[in-house]
Protein backbone atom coordinates (compact mmCIF):
# COMPACT_ATOMS: atom_id res chain seq x y z
CA UNK A 1 0.00 0.00 0.00
CA UNK A 2 2.31 2.72 1.20
CA UNK A 3 4.87 3.78 -1.33
CA UNK A 4 7.97 1.82 -0.66
CA UNK A 5 7.94 2.28 3.05
CA UNK A 6 10.77 -0.20 3.14
CA UNK A 7 14.35 0.90 2.93
CA UNK A 8 13.88 4.63 3.27
CA UNK A 9 16.96 6.67 3.88
CA UNK A 10 17.23 8.53 7.18
CA UNK A 11 17.47 12.07 5.68
CA UNK A 12 14.30 11.46 3.71
CA UNK A 13 12.41 10.26 6.74
CA UNK A 14 13.70 13.31 8.57
CA UNK A 15 12.70 15.76 5.86
CA UNK A 16 9.23 14.34 5.41
CA UNK A 17 8.65 14.16 9.16
CA UNK A 18 9.71 17.76 9.58
CA UNK A 19 7.43 18.76 6.74
CA UNK A 20 4.43 16.96 8.18
CA UNK A 21 5.18 18.35 11.61
CA UNK A 22 5.39 21.88 10.20
CA UNK A 23 2.07 21.40 8.43
CA UNK A 24 0.41 20.07 11.55
CA UNK A 25 1.56 23.11 13.48
CA UNK A 26 0.37 25.47 10.75
CA UNK A 27 -2.97 23.68 10.42
CA UNK A 28 -3.68 23.19 14.09
CA UNK A 29 -2.20 26.27 15.73
CA UNK A 30 -5.00 28.74 14.86
CA UNK A 31 -7.52 26.18 16.06
CA UNK A 32 -5.71 25.47 19.32
CA UNK A 33 -5.33 29.20 19.87
CA UNK A 34 -9.09 29.54 19.37
CA UNK A 35 -9.82 26.63 21.71
CA UNK A 36 -7.66 28.21 24.40
CA UNK A 37 -9.05 31.69 23.76
CA UNK A 38 -12.65 30.51 23.90
CA UNK A 39 -12.26 30.27 27.68
CA UNK A 40 -11.20 33.91 27.98
CA UNK A 41 -13.11 37.18 27.77
CA UNK A 42 -13.10 39.22 24.59
CA UNK A 43 -10.69 41.77 26.03
CA UNK A 44 -8.07 39.05 26.31
CA UNK A 45 -8.60 36.93 23.24
CA UNK A 46 -8.92 39.95 20.95
CA UNK A 47 -6.53 42.15 22.87
CA UNK A 48 -5.18 45.30 21.30
CA UNK A 49 -3.12 45.99 24.41
CA UNK A 50 -0.96 42.88 24.54
CA UNK A 51 -1.48 39.51 22.87
CA UNK A 52 0.00 37.80 25.90
CA UNK A 53 -3.17 38.75 27.78
CA UNK A 54 -4.72 35.83 25.95
CA UNK A 55 -2.18 33.54 27.57
CA UNK A 56 -2.44 34.83 31.13
CA UNK A 57 -6.08 35.91 31.00
CA UNK A 58 -5.35 39.32 32.53
CA UNK A 59 -8.76 40.79 31.87
CA UNK A 60 -10.50 37.46 32.40
CA UNK A 61 -9.23 37.52 35.98
CA UNK A 62 -10.40 41.13 36.42
CA UNK A 63 -13.83 40.56 34.92
CA UNK A 64 -14.67 37.05 36.12
CA UNK A 65 -12.27 36.40 38.98
CA UNK A 66 -10.64 33.36 37.42
CA UNK A 67 -8.21 32.82 34.53
CA UNK A 68 -10.73 30.71 32.63
CA UNK A 69 -14.41 31.30 32.00
CA UNK A 70 -17.13 29.31 30.34
CA UNK A 71 -19.14 32.47 29.72
CA UNK A 72 -18.84 32.19 25.94
CA UNK A 73 -20.21 28.65 25.93
CA UNK A 74 -22.92 29.44 28.42
CA UNK A 75 -23.95 32.52 26.44
CA UNK A 76 -24.01 30.74 23.11
CA UNK A 77 -25.65 27.48 24.15
CA UNK A 78 -27.99 28.55 26.93
CA UNK A 79 -28.72 32.26 26.54
CA UNK A 80 -28.75 32.31 22.74
CA UNK A 81 -30.03 28.73 22.32
CA UNK A 82 -27.34 27.69 19.92
CA UNK A 83 -28.55 24.10 20.22
CA UNK A 84 -31.55 24.97 18.06
CA UNK A 85 -29.23 26.06 15.29
CA UNK A 86 -27.13 22.94 15.81
CA UNK A 87 -30.24 20.81 15.52
CA UNK A 88 -31.33 22.57 12.32
CA UNK A 89 -27.88 22.16 10.85
CA UNK A 90 -27.98 18.49 11.76
CA UNK A 91 -31.27 17.97 9.94
CA UNK A 92 -30.22 19.95 6.88
CA UNK A 93 -26.81 18.33 6.60
CA UNK A 94 -28.18 14.81 7.05
CA UNK A 95 -30.80 15.11 4.32
CA UNK A 96 -28.57 17.09 2.00
CA UNK A 97 -25.89 14.43 2.13
CA UNK A 98 -28.33 11.52 1.73
CA UNK A 99 -30.22 13.08 -1.19
CA UNK A 100 -27.09 14.43 -2.87
CA UNK A 101 -25.49 11.03 -2.78
CA UNK A 102 -28.58 9.20 -4.01
CA UNK A 103 -29.04 11.48 -7.00
CA UNK A 104 -25.31 11.74 -7.60
CA UNK A 105 -24.77 7.99 -7.51
CA UNK A 106 -27.45 7.31 -10.10
CA UNK A 107 -26.37 10.19 -12.33
CA UNK A 108 -22.65 9.59 -11.90
CA UNK A 109 -23.08 5.92 -12.74
CA UNK A 110 -25.02 6.75 -15.90
CA UNK A 111 -22.45 9.33 -16.98
CA UNK A 112 -19.62 6.89 -16.41
CA UNK A 113 -21.27 4.11 -18.39
CA UNK A 114 -22.63 6.12 -21.32
CA UNK A 115 -20.32 6.66 -24.24
CA UNK A 116 -22.54 9.08 -26.10
CA UNK A 117 -21.44 12.65 -26.71
CA UNK A 118 -24.30 14.11 -24.72
CA UNK A 119 -22.89 12.58 -21.57
CA UNK A 120 -19.74 14.59 -22.11
CA UNK A 121 -21.68 17.78 -22.73
CA UNK A 122 -23.73 17.16 -19.63
CA UNK A 123 -20.53 16.96 -17.62
CA UNK A 124 -19.34 20.20 -19.19
CA UNK A 125 -22.66 21.86 -18.48
CA UNK A 126 -22.38 20.76 -14.86
CA UNK A 127 -19.04 22.56 -14.69
CA UNK A 128 -20.56 25.76 -16.07
CA UNK A 129 -23.32 25.41 -13.49
CA UNK A 130 -20.74 25.08 -10.75
CA UNK A 131 -19.05 28.28 -11.89
CA UNK A 132 -22.13 30.39 -11.12
CA UNK A 133 -21.57 32.48 -7.98
CA UNK A 134 -23.99 31.20 -5.33
CA UNK A 135 -25.10 34.66 -4.28
CA UNK A 136 -26.41 35.34 -7.80
CA UNK A 137 -28.41 32.12 -7.81
CA UNK A 138 -29.77 32.67 -4.33
CA UNK A 139 -30.82 36.27 -4.91
CA UNK A 140 -32.68 34.98 -7.96
CA UNK A 141 -34.58 32.45 -5.82
CA UNK A 142 -35.89 35.02 -3.35
CA UNK A 143 -38.80 36.48 -5.34
CA UNK A 144 -40.31 33.22 -6.62
CA UNK A 145 -39.78 31.48 -3.27
CA UNK A 146 -41.62 34.21 -1.39
CA UNK A 147 -44.31 34.21 -4.08
CA UNK A 148 -44.92 30.46 -3.81
CA UNK A 149 -44.56 30.32 -0.04
CA UNK A 150 -41.49 28.14 -0.27
CA UNK A 151 -39.23 30.58 1.51
CA UNK A 152 -37.96 29.97 5.01
CA UNK A 153 -38.57 26.24 5.19
CA UNK A 154 -35.94 23.62 5.83
CA UNK A 155 -36.97 21.33 2.91
CA UNK A 156 -36.52 24.19 0.43
CA UNK A 157 -33.02 24.81 1.69
CA UNK A 158 -32.19 21.12 1.50
CA UNK A 159 -33.35 20.93 -2.11
CA UNK A 160 -31.38 24.04 -3.04
CA UNK A 161 -28.23 22.77 -1.35
CA UNK A 162 -28.62 19.42 -3.09
CA UNK A 163 -29.03 21.11 -6.47
CA UNK A 164 -26.13 23.51 -5.99
CA UNK A 165 -23.99 20.62 -4.85
CA UNK A 166 -24.97 18.29 -7.71
CA UNK A 167 -22.27 19.33 -10.22
CA UNK A 168 -19.48 18.53 -7.78
CA UNK A 169 -21.10 15.30 -6.63
CA UNK A 170 -21.72 14.18 -10.20
CA UNK A 171 -18.14 14.85 -11.21
CA UNK A 172 -16.63 13.09 -8.27
CA UNK A 173 -18.88 10.03 -8.41
CA UNK A 174 -18.56 9.83 -12.18
CA UNK A 175 -14.78 9.60 -11.75
CA UNK A 176 -15.29 6.95 -9.13
CA UNK A 177 -17.53 4.76 -11.28
CA UNK A 178 -15.05 5.00 -14.15
CA UNK A 179 -12.68 3.10 -11.90
CA UNK A 180 -15.06 0.21 -11.28
CA UNK A 181 -14.45 -2.27 -14.08
CA UNK A 182 -17.23 -2.34 -16.65
CA UNK A 183 -17.11 -6.13 -16.81
CA UNK A 184 -18.69 -6.31 -13.36
CA UNK A 185 -22.09 -4.91 -14.24
CA UNK A 186 -22.00 -6.04 -17.86
CA UNK A 187 -21.54 -9.68 -16.95
CA UNK A 188 -24.46 -9.33 -14.57
CA UNK A 189 -26.54 -8.04 -17.43
CA UNK A 190 -25.48 -10.92 -19.62
CA UNK A 191 -26.82 -13.13 -16.84
CA UNK A 192 -30.23 -11.52 -17.36
CA UNK A 193 -30.24 -8.59 -14.97
CA UNK A 194 -31.69 -5.26 -16.06
CA UNK A 195 -29.37 -2.27 -15.85
CA UNK A 196 -30.93 -1.20 -12.57
CA UNK A 197 -30.67 -4.68 -11.08
CA UNK A 198 -27.05 -4.85 -12.13
CA UNK A 199 -26.50 -1.50 -10.49
CA UNK A 200 -28.24 -2.55 -7.30
CA UNK A 201 -26.75 -5.98 -6.86
CA UNK A 202 -23.29 -5.56 -8.34
CA UNK A 203 -22.28 -1.93 -8.18
CA UNK A 204 -23.87 -0.81 -4.92
CA UNK A 205 -21.91 -3.30 -2.78
CA UNK A 206 -18.56 -2.04 -4.10
CA UNK A 207 -19.27 1.66 -4.31
CA UNK A 208 -19.38 2.63 -0.61
CA UNK A 209 -15.83 3.88 -0.23
CA UNK A 210 -16.24 6.40 -3.05
CA UNK A 211 -19.68 7.41 -1.92
CA UNK A 212 -18.49 8.07 1.61
CA UNK A 213 -15.63 10.21 0.36
CA UNK A 214 -17.96 12.26 -1.81
CA UNK A 215 -20.27 12.43 1.19
CA UNK A 216 -17.50 14.05 3.23
CA UNK A 217 -17.27 16.91 0.78
CA UNK A 218 -21.07 17.22 0.49
CA UNK A 219 -21.19 17.28 4.25
CA UNK A 220 -18.64 20.07 4.53
CA UNK A 221 -20.41 22.11 1.87
CA UNK A 222 -23.77 21.94 3.62
CA UNK A 223 -22.22 22.31 7.06
CA UNK A 224 -20.20 25.42 6.22
CA UNK A 225 -22.69 27.06 3.89
CA UNK A 226 -23.51 30.67 4.66
CA UNK A 227 -25.03 32.25 1.55
CA UNK A 228 -27.86 29.78 1.02
CA UNK A 229 -28.81 29.22 4.63
CA UNK A 230 -28.54 32.89 5.63
CA UNK A 231 -30.83 34.04 2.85
CA UNK A 232 -33.32 31.18 2.54
CA UNK A 233 -34.16 30.31 6.15
CA UNK A 234 -36.22 32.24 8.65
CA UNK A 235 -35.11 32.76 12.18
CA UNK A 236 -36.63 29.67 13.74
CA UNK A 237 -35.00 27.43 11.14
CA UNK A 238 -31.65 29.23 11.29
CA UNK A 239 -28.55 27.06 11.04
CA UNK A 240 -25.26 27.33 12.87
CA UNK A 241 -23.20 29.51 10.55
CA UNK A 242 -25.75 32.35 10.16
CA UNK A 243 -26.36 32.08 13.90
CA UNK A 244 -22.65 32.51 14.53
CA UNK A 245 -22.64 35.47 12.14
CA UNK A 246 -25.47 37.01 14.16
CA UNK A 247 -23.28 36.88 17.28
CA UNK A 248 -20.78 39.15 15.60
CA UNK A 249 -22.92 42.30 15.82
CA UNK A 250 -23.14 45.02 13.24
CA UNK A 251 -21.53 48.34 12.44
CA UNK A 252 -23.69 50.14 14.93
CA UNK A 253 -24.18 47.56 17.64
CA UNK A 254 -21.53 45.53 19.40
CA UNK A 255 -21.96 41.77 19.23
CA UNK A 256 -20.87 38.93 21.46
CA UNK A 257 -17.75 37.80 19.65
CA UNK A 258 -16.86 35.31 22.38
CA UNK A 259 -20.21 33.55 21.85
CA UNK A 260 -19.19 33.13 18.22
CA UNK A 261 -15.78 31.78 19.16
CA UNK A 262 -17.25 29.32 21.65
CA UNK A 263 -19.88 28.26 19.12
CA UNK A 264 -17.25 27.61 16.45
CA UNK A 265 -15.16 25.51 18.82
CA UNK A 266 -18.14 23.45 19.92
CA UNK A 267 -19.30 23.06 16.31
CA UNK A 268 -16.00 21.38 15.51
CA UNK A 269 -16.35 18.68 18.17
CA UNK A 270 -18.92 16.49 16.36
CA UNK A 271 -16.75 16.66 13.25
CA UNK A 272 -13.83 15.27 15.19
CA UNK A 273 -15.90 12.28 16.26
CA UNK A 274 -17.33 11.88 12.77
CA UNK A 275 -13.98 11.92 11.04
CA UNK A 276 -12.43 9.47 13.47
CA UNK A 277 -15.44 7.23 12.91
CA UNK A 278 -15.31 7.37 9.13
CA UNK A 279 -11.57 7.72 8.84
CA UNK A 280 -10.98 4.23 7.46
CA UNK A 281 -13.78 4.54 4.94
CA UNK A 282 -12.61 7.97 3.85
CA UNK A 283 -9.15 6.69 3.17
CA UNK A 284 -10.16 3.44 1.60
CA UNK A 285 -12.90 5.29 -0.23
CA UNK A 286 -10.48 7.57 -1.91
CA UNK A 287 -8.37 4.54 -2.48
CA UNK A 288 -10.79 3.31 -5.05
CA UNK A 289 -12.45 6.48 -6.14
CA UNK A 290 -11.80 9.91 -7.56
CA UNK A 291 -8.73 8.66 -9.26
CA UNK A 292 -9.66 9.39 -12.84
CA UNK A 293 -10.39 13.12 -12.87
Amino acid sequence: MAIASKRRSTPLVLISSVLVLAWIVVAAFPFLWTLWGSFKVQGDFFSKADWMNALWGTRTVIETGAPFTGAGYEGAWIEKEFWRAALNTGIIVFFTVIISLTLGTLGGYALARSGYRYAFWLLMLALVFRAMPHITLVSGYLLPFFEWNLWGHIPTTIVVLVAINQPFTLWMLHSFFLNIPKDLDESAMVDGCTRFQAFRHVIVPVMWPGVITTGLFSFLLAYNDFTVTALLLNQENQTMIPKIASFLGSTQVEGNVMFAVAAVVSATAPLFVLILFFQRQIVSGLTAGAVKG
Binding site: K48, W51, S114, T136, V261, Q279, G293
Partner: protein
Protein backbone atom coordinates in the same frame (compact mmCIF):
# COMPACT_ATOMS: atom_id res chain seq x y z
CA UNK B 1 -25.83 2.43 -22.19
CA UNK B 2 -29.11 2.90 -24.08
CA UNK B 3 -30.60 6.38 -24.17
CA UNK B 4 -33.66 5.31 -22.25
CA UNK B 5 -31.79 3.83 -19.30
CA UNK B 6 -29.43 6.80 -19.25
CA UNK B 7 -32.39 9.12 -19.14
CA UNK B 8 -33.95 7.49 -16.08
CA UNK B 9 -30.68 7.29 -14.20
CA UNK B 10 -29.76 10.92 -14.79
CA UNK B 11 -33.29 12.33 -14.47
CA UNK B 12 -33.41 13.23 -10.73
CA UNK B 13 -30.00 14.84 -10.78
CA UNK B 14 -30.63 16.68 -14.04
CA UNK B 15 -34.02 17.86 -12.84
CA UNK B 16 -32.54 19.36 -9.69
CA UNK B 17 -29.89 21.18 -11.70
CA UNK B 18 -32.39 22.28 -14.34
CA UNK B 19 -34.76 23.80 -11.80
CA UNK B 20 -32.29 25.41 -9.48
CA UNK B 21 -29.33 26.25 -11.69
CA UNK B 22 -30.30 26.23 -15.37
CA UNK B 23 -33.50 28.27 -15.06
CA UNK B 24 -31.91 30.86 -12.78
CA UNK B 25 -28.96 30.96 -15.20
CA UNK B 26 -31.30 31.82 -18.06
CA UNK B 27 -32.98 34.49 -15.96
CA UNK B 28 -29.57 35.90 -15.03
CA UNK B 29 -28.67 36.13 -18.71
CA UNK B 30 -31.95 37.89 -19.49
CA UNK B 31 -31.45 40.20 -16.54
CA UNK B 32 -27.96 41.15 -17.66
CA UNK B 33 -29.36 42.34 -20.99
CA UNK B 34 -31.88 44.70 -19.40
CA UNK B 35 -31.65 47.80 -17.23
CA UNK B 36 -34.23 49.38 -14.94
CA UNK B 37 -36.94 51.66 -16.25
CA UNK B 38 -36.55 55.36 -16.06
CA UNK B 39 -37.40 56.35 -12.49
CA UNK B 40 -39.70 59.32 -12.44
CA UNK B 41 -38.58 61.67 -9.68
CA UNK B 42 -40.69 64.17 -7.77
CA UNK B 43 -39.66 66.85 -5.31
CA UNK B 44 -41.57 67.33 -2.11
CA UNK B 45 -41.11 68.29 1.50
CA UNK B 46 -40.01 65.26 3.50
CA UNK B 47 -39.83 65.22 7.27
CA UNK B 48 -38.25 62.98 9.86
CA UNK B 49 -37.17 63.05 13.49
CA UNK B 50 -34.49 65.60 12.60
CA UNK B 51 -36.55 68.18 10.74
CA UNK B 52 -38.04 68.84 7.32
CA UNK B 53 -36.33 69.39 4.01
CA UNK B 54 -37.14 69.70 0.32
CA UNK B 55 -36.20 66.30 -1.00
CA UNK B 56 -36.51 64.00 -3.98
CA UNK B 57 -38.35 60.72 -4.15
CA UNK B 58 -39.54 58.28 -6.78
CA UNK B 59 -43.03 58.80 -8.18
CA UNK B 60 -44.14 55.25 -7.48
CA UNK B 61 -47.33 55.31 -9.53
CA UNK B 62 -45.79 56.79 -12.66
CA UNK B 63 -42.82 54.44 -12.44
CA UNK B 64 -45.09 51.46 -11.80
CA UNK B 65 -46.91 52.21 -15.06
CA UNK B 66 -43.65 51.99 -16.96
CA UNK B 67 -42.85 48.75 -15.18
CA UNK B 68 -46.18 47.16 -15.96
CA UNK B 69 -45.75 47.98 -19.63
CA UNK B 70 -42.46 46.05 -19.80
CA UNK B 71 -41.78 44.00 -16.67
CA UNK B 72 -38.26 43.01 -17.68
CA UNK B 73 -37.05 46.60 -17.86
CA UNK B 74 -35.49 48.41 -20.78
CA UNK B 75 -33.60 46.21 -23.22
CA UNK B 76 -29.97 47.25 -23.11
CA UNK B 77 -28.38 44.53 -25.26
CA UNK B 78 -24.75 44.16 -24.18
CA UNK B 79 -24.70 47.72 -22.82
CA UNK B 80 -24.21 46.64 -19.22
CA UNK B 81 -21.33 44.36 -20.18
CA UNK B 82 -19.58 47.21 -21.95
CA UNK B 83 -20.13 49.96 -19.35
CA UNK B 84 -17.57 51.39 -16.96
CA UNK B 85 -18.48 48.96 -14.21
CA UNK B 86 -17.64 45.96 -16.38
CA UNK B 87 -15.57 45.71 -19.56
CA UNK B 88 -15.42 49.51 -19.90
CA UNK B 89 -14.75 49.46 -23.64
CA UNK B 90 -15.21 53.22 -24.06
CA UNK B 91 -12.89 54.03 -21.17
CA UNK B 92 -10.25 51.59 -22.41
CA UNK B 93 -10.22 52.99 -25.92
CA UNK B 94 -10.11 56.51 -24.54
CA UNK B 95 -7.21 55.59 -22.28
CA UNK B 96 -5.48 53.96 -25.27
CA UNK B 97 -5.75 57.08 -27.41
CA UNK B 98 -4.88 59.63 -24.72
CA UNK B 99 -1.92 57.96 -23.04
CA UNK B 100 1.51 57.71 -24.62
CA UNK B 101 3.19 55.11 -22.45
CA UNK B 102 2.26 51.58 -21.42
CA UNK B 103 2.67 52.57 -17.83
CA UNK B 104 0.16 55.39 -18.06
CA UNK B 105 -2.27 53.22 -20.01
CA UNK B 106 -1.92 50.42 -17.51
CA UNK B 107 -2.56 52.68 -14.53
CA UNK B 108 -5.67 54.08 -16.25
CA UNK B 109 -6.97 50.55 -16.84
CA UNK B 110 -6.22 49.50 -13.28
CA UNK B 111 -8.36 52.40 -12.09
CA UNK B 112 -11.43 50.69 -13.57
CA UNK B 113 -13.28 48.50 -11.08
CA UNK B 114 -13.66 45.41 -13.26
CA UNK B 115 -10.00 45.25 -14.24
CA UNK B 116 -8.86 45.98 -10.70
CA UNK B 117 -10.97 43.06 -9.53
CA UNK B 118 -9.85 40.85 -12.40
CA UNK B 119 -6.19 41.59 -11.66
CA UNK B 120 -6.48 40.42 -8.08
CA UNK B 121 -8.70 37.47 -8.99
CA UNK B 122 -6.23 36.23 -11.61
CA UNK B 123 -3.22 36.80 -9.36
CA UNK B 124 -4.93 34.92 -6.54
CA UNK B 125 -5.90 32.03 -8.82
CA UNK B 126 -2.45 31.88 -10.39
CA UNK B 127 -0.58 31.89 -7.09
CA UNK B 128 -2.86 29.83 -4.89
CA UNK B 129 -3.81 26.98 -7.26
CA UNK B 130 -0.29 25.66 -7.98
CA UNK B 131 0.82 26.12 -4.37
CA UNK B 132 -2.20 24.22 -3.08
CA UNK B 133 -1.45 21.35 -5.45
CA UNK B 134 2.25 21.36 -4.57
CA UNK B 135 1.83 21.52 -0.79
CA UNK B 136 -1.16 19.19 -0.89
CA UNK B 137 0.97 16.58 -2.63
CA UNK B 138 3.90 17.14 -0.28
CA UNK B 139 1.71 16.74 2.80
CA UNK B 140 0.05 13.67 1.29
CA UNK B 141 3.43 12.07 0.62
CA UNK B 142 4.59 12.95 4.12
CA UNK B 143 1.49 11.63 5.88
CA UNK B 144 1.61 8.50 3.76
CA UNK B 145 4.99 7.69 5.26
CA UNK B 146 3.81 8.05 8.84
CA UNK B 147 3.27 5.09 11.16
CA UNK B 148 -0.33 3.83 11.15
CA UNK B 149 -1.02 4.91 14.72
CA UNK B 150 -0.62 8.67 14.15
CA UNK B 151 -2.18 8.75 10.69
CA UNK B 152 -5.77 9.21 11.89
CA UNK B 153 -5.24 12.24 14.14
CA UNK B 154 -2.93 13.74 11.52
CA UNK B 155 -5.67 13.49 8.91
CA UNK B 156 -8.15 15.17 11.23
CA UNK B 157 -5.76 18.01 12.03
CA UNK B 158 -4.97 18.40 8.35
CA UNK B 159 -8.65 18.91 7.64
CA UNK B 160 -9.07 21.65 10.26
CA UNK B 161 -8.35 24.62 7.98
CA UNK B 162 -11.18 23.41 5.76
CA UNK B 163 -13.59 22.57 8.56
CA UNK B 164 -13.54 25.75 10.64
CA UNK B 165 -15.98 28.12 9.00
CA UNK B 166 -14.12 30.87 7.09
CA UNK B 167 -16.42 33.39 8.75
CA UNK B 168 -14.72 32.85 12.10
CA UNK B 169 -11.48 31.31 10.84
CA UNK B 170 -10.55 34.47 9.00
CA UNK B 171 -11.73 36.67 11.87
CA UNK B 172 -9.43 34.91 14.30
CA UNK B 173 -6.51 34.85 11.88
CA UNK B 174 -7.17 38.52 11.22
CA UNK B 175 -6.68 39.27 14.89
CA UNK B 176 -3.65 37.01 15.12
CA UNK B 177 -1.90 38.89 12.29
CA UNK B 178 -2.83 42.29 13.72
CA UNK B 179 0.22 44.39 14.56
CA UNK B 180 -0.65 43.72 18.21
CA UNK B 181 -1.58 40.07 17.68
CA UNK B 182 0.52 36.98 18.29
CA UNK B 183 1.52 36.39 14.66
CA UNK B 184 1.90 40.09 13.89
CA UNK B 185 4.22 40.57 16.87
CA UNK B 186 6.06 37.40 15.89
CA UNK B 187 6.69 38.72 12.38
CA UNK B 188 7.81 42.07 13.77
CA UNK B 189 10.29 40.20 15.94
CA UNK B 190 11.53 38.01 13.08
CA UNK B 191 11.98 40.90 10.65
CA UNK B 192 13.14 43.24 13.43
CA UNK B 193 10.72 45.93 12.28
CA UNK B 194 8.39 47.20 15.02
CA UNK B 195 6.29 49.13 12.50
CA UNK B 196 5.56 46.10 10.31
CA UNK B 197 1.83 45.75 9.67
CA UNK B 198 0.34 43.18 7.33
CA UNK B 199 -2.79 45.27 6.93
CA UNK B 200 -1.35 48.56 5.81
CA UNK B 201 0.40 47.96 2.49
CA UNK B 202 -1.24 46.56 -0.65
CA UNK B 203 1.59 44.10 -1.27
CA UNK B 204 1.52 42.62 2.22
CA UNK B 205 -2.27 42.43 2.13
CA UNK B 206 -2.09 40.44 -1.09
CA UNK B 207 0.52 38.12 0.37
CA UNK B 208 -1.62 37.61 3.47
CA UNK B 209 -4.63 36.72 1.33
CA UNK B 210 -2.57 34.32 -0.79
CA UNK B 211 -1.22 32.65 2.33
CA UNK B 212 -4.70 32.24 3.72
CA UNK B 213 -5.89 30.84 0.39
CA UNK B 214 -3.15 28.22 0.36
CA UNK B 215 -3.70 27.31 4.00
CA UNK B 216 -7.42 26.94 3.43
CA UNK B 217 -7.00 24.98 0.18
CA UNK B 218 -4.36 22.42 1.18
CA UNK B 219 -6.75 20.04 3.01
CA UNK B 220 -8.85 19.41 -0.10
CA UNK B 221 -5.82 18.67 -2.27
CA UNK B 222 -4.31 16.62 0.54
CA UNK B 223 -7.31 14.33 1.00
CA UNK B 224 -7.64 13.64 -2.71
CA UNK B 225 -3.91 13.05 -3.24
CA UNK B 226 -3.51 10.96 -0.13
CA UNK B 227 -6.22 8.64 -1.38
CA UNK B 228 -4.65 8.57 -4.80
CA UNK B 229 -1.37 7.47 -3.28
CA UNK B 230 -3.08 4.41 -1.83
CA UNK B 231 -3.90 3.20 -5.32
CA UNK B 232 -0.46 3.43 -6.88
CA UNK B 233 0.25 -0.21 -7.82
CA UNK B 234 2.85 -1.72 -5.55
CA UNK B 235 4.30 -3.88 -8.36
CA UNK B 236 5.18 -0.89 -10.54
CA UNK B 237 6.93 0.77 -7.63
CA UNK B 238 8.84 -2.36 -6.79
CA UNK B 239 9.85 -2.79 -10.39
CA UNK B 240 11.13 0.77 -10.39
CA UNK B 241 13.08 0.08 -7.20
CA UNK B 242 14.67 -2.99 -8.69
CA UNK B 243 15.70 -0.85 -11.65
CA UNK B 244 17.57 1.32 -9.13
CA UNK B 245 15.25 4.35 -9.14
CA UNK B 246 15.75 6.71 -6.21
CA UNK B 247 12.78 7.76 -4.11
CA UNK B 248 12.56 11.07 -5.95
CA UNK B 249 12.69 9.29 -9.32
CA UNK B 250 9.94 6.94 -8.23
CA UNK B 251 7.74 9.90 -7.31
CA UNK B 252 8.61 11.78 -10.48
CA UNK B 253 8.23 8.92 -12.97
CA UNK B 254 5.75 6.54 -11.34
CA UNK B 255 3.60 8.26 -8.75
CA UNK B 256 2.98 11.60 -10.47
CA UNK B 257 2.06 10.18 -13.89
CA UNK B 258 -0.23 7.66 -12.25
CA UNK B 259 -2.01 10.42 -10.38
CA UNK B 260 -2.35 12.60 -13.47
CA UNK B 261 -6.15 12.53 -13.51
CA UNK B 262 -6.20 13.50 -9.85
CA UNK B 263 -4.17 16.61 -10.55
CA UNK B 264 -6.68 17.48 -13.23
CA UNK B 265 -9.56 17.04 -10.80
CA UNK B 266 -7.98 19.12 -8.04
CA UNK B 267 -6.84 21.80 -10.51
CA UNK B 268 -10.35 22.01 -11.95
CA UNK B 269 -12.05 22.49 -8.59
CA UNK B 270 -9.35 24.77 -7.22
CA UNK B 271 -9.23 27.02 -10.29
CA UNK B 272 -12.96 27.43 -10.11
CA UNK B 273 -13.08 28.12 -6.38
CA UNK B 274 -10.11 30.47 -6.39
CA UNK B 275 -11.55 32.42 -9.29
CA UNK B 276 -14.57 33.08 -7.12
CA UNK B 277 -12.49 34.19 -4.12
CA UNK B 278 -14.62 36.15 -1.70
CA UNK B 279 -14.48 35.22 1.97
CA UNK B 280 -10.86 36.11 2.75
CA UNK B 281 -11.23 39.61 1.31
CA UNK B 282 -14.18 40.31 3.57
CA UNK B 283 -12.77 38.38 6.54
CA UNK B 284 -9.47 40.27 6.43
CA UNK B 285 -11.16 43.67 5.75
CA UNK B 286 -8.93 43.92 2.69
CA UNK B 287 -11.34 45.81 0.44
CA UNK B 288 -8.99 48.79 0.26
CA UNK B 289 -6.31 46.78 -1.46
CA UNK B 290 -8.04 43.82 -3.03
CA UNK B 291 -11.33 43.26 -4.79
CA UNK B 292 -12.47 40.24 -6.75
CA UNK B 293 -15.26 39.52 -9.19
CA UNK B 294 -17.24 37.97 -6.35
CA UNK B 295 -16.86 40.99 -4.07
CA UNK B 296 -18.10 43.13 -6.96
CA UNK B 297 -21.20 40.94 -7.24
CA UNK B 298 -21.85 41.05 -3.49
CA UNK B 299 -21.37 44.81 -3.53
CA UNK B 300 -23.97 45.15 -6.25
CA UNK B 301 -26.52 42.86 -4.61
CA UNK B 302 -26.23 43.73 -0.95
CA UNK B 303 -26.07 47.54 -0.95
CA UNK B 304 -28.97 49.82 -0.09
CA UNK B 305 -29.84 49.85 -3.80
CA UNK B 306 -29.51 46.34 -5.21
CA UNK B 307 -28.19 46.44 -8.79
CA UNK B 308 -29.40 43.22 -10.36
CA UNK B 309 -28.38 43.95 -13.95
CA UNK B 310 -24.84 44.83 -12.96
CA UNK B 311 -24.54 41.78 -10.70
CA UNK B 312 -25.95 39.55 -13.45
CA UNK B 313 -23.42 40.85 -15.96
CA UNK B 314 -20.50 40.34 -13.56
CA UNK B 315 -21.78 36.83 -12.81
CA UNK B 316 -21.89 35.96 -16.49
CA UNK B 317 -18.38 37.36 -16.93
CA UNK B 318 -17.28 35.16 -14.02
CA UNK B 319 -18.76 32.09 -15.69
CA UNK B 320 -17.06 32.98 -18.96
CA UNK B 321 -13.78 33.58 -17.13
CA UNK B 322 -14.00 30.17 -15.47
CA UNK B 323 -14.78 28.56 -18.83
CA UNK B 324 -11.69 30.15 -20.39
CA UNK B 325 -9.46 29.09 -17.50
CA UNK B 326 -10.75 25.53 -17.68
CA UNK B 327 -10.41 25.13 -21.45
CA UNK B 328 -7.17 23.10 -21.28
CA UNK B 329 -8.72 20.78 -18.72
CA UNK B 330 -11.86 20.44 -20.79
CA UNK B 331 -9.94 19.55 -23.94
CA UNK B 332 -8.17 16.85 -22.02
CA UNK B 333 -11.45 15.46 -20.72
CA UNK B 334 -12.83 15.49 -24.27
CA UNK B 335 -9.92 13.36 -25.47
CA UNK B 336 -10.31 10.94 -22.57
CA UNK B 337 -13.98 10.71 -23.27
CA UNK B 338 -13.56 9.98 -26.96
CA UNK B 339 -11.19 7.18 -26.10
CA UNK B 340 -13.96 5.53 -24.12
CA UNK B 341 -15.88 3.02 -26.22
CA UNK B 342 -19.62 3.50 -26.59
Amino acid sequence: MPHRTFFWFILPSALAMLLFIAFPLVSVIVQSLHVEHEQILVTSENCGPFGCKQSTSVDVEATAKLKDAAPLGRFNSLGTYMDRGHLATAEISQAWSTTDSWRAFFSRVMNLPFYKALAFTLAYTAVVTPLVILFGLAVALGVNGLPKLVKGPTIFISLLPMIVTPLIGSLILYWMIDADGILGKGLQYIFDDPALSLKASPLLTWLTLFTYGVWHGIPFAFVVFYAGLQTVPEETLEAAMIDGASRWERIRYVVIPYMGPLFVFVALIQLMDNFRVFEPIIGFSAQANASSLSTEIYGDLLGDNAQYASAAATSMLTVIGVAILLTPVLIRTWRDFNRKAV
